[in-house]
């Protein structure tokens, strides 16, 4: 914590560092939630009311794709697959 000062430049700097700290904390929590999902059965809700389940494997750093295995689709099981995150509305798992 920066010592209390009413001067503007210090105020701006501390706002920036508070923002950076918040960003880091939120991101770390999110990455850890993904880590907890690895190997779990995850249920995905896609657009048009489509639901699929799969074992979560990994994602890329901008969370654009989910790599999954044993993807159960309405037309069969796909051993390995990439789900585009833009096709996903939500996902649920039990840690």
């Amino acid at each position: 914590e920066a010592p209390g000062s009413q001067e503007c430049p210090v105020g701006q700097q501390s706002q920036e560092s508070r923002e950076q700290r918040a960003r880091a904390a939120l991101r770390e929590r999110y990455l850890r939630s993904l880590l907890a999902m690895v190997g779990r059965q995850v249920r995905f809700t896609l657009h048009e009311g489509v639901h699929v389940t799969a074992h979560f494997g990994a994602t890329d750093l901008d969370v654009a794709n989910f790599y999954v295995s044993q993807l159960q689709t309405p037309i069969g099981i796909q051993a390995e697959a990439l789900l585009r995150c833009s096709d996903i509305i939500s996902y649920t798992f039990e840690p």
Binding site: A22, L26, S33
Partner: protein, 96 residues
């Protein structure tokens, strides 16, 4: 793209540990305790405590989020349960 994806990390942090109702694409509605929001993708992570003592975790993709409304403030007990979640790598420790 909704307002949600434009929020700053400090604004996103205000929702952490709050009970929220999220409206997403295709009239999907989600409710739960907000654990975090990824500042990169704006993906939201909600936690629900199930009756058998286990947890259910739901991620809602930032691009699909339409509105996020705070419906409850977390009390001390909820906060104690949520704070260590996923932080030690040992999720089993958090089951009662």
């Amino acid at each position: 793209m909704s307002e949600w994806t434009k929020k700053s990390p400090l604004e996103l942090e205000d929702y952490v540990y709050k009970e929220v109702r999220v409206i997403a694409s295709e009239k999907k509605e989600y409710r739960g305790w907000l654990l975090t929001t990824d500042p990169v993708s704006a993906n939201i992570v909600l936690v629900n405590f199930l009756e058998d003592g286990s947890l259910s975790v739901t991620g809602i993709m930032g691009h699909a989020v339409q509105t996020v409304e705070i419906v409850g403030e977390g009390d001390h007990r909820v906060r104690e349960k949520l704070t260590p979640l996923f932080m030690s790598g040992d999720c089993a420790a958090y089951s009662p």
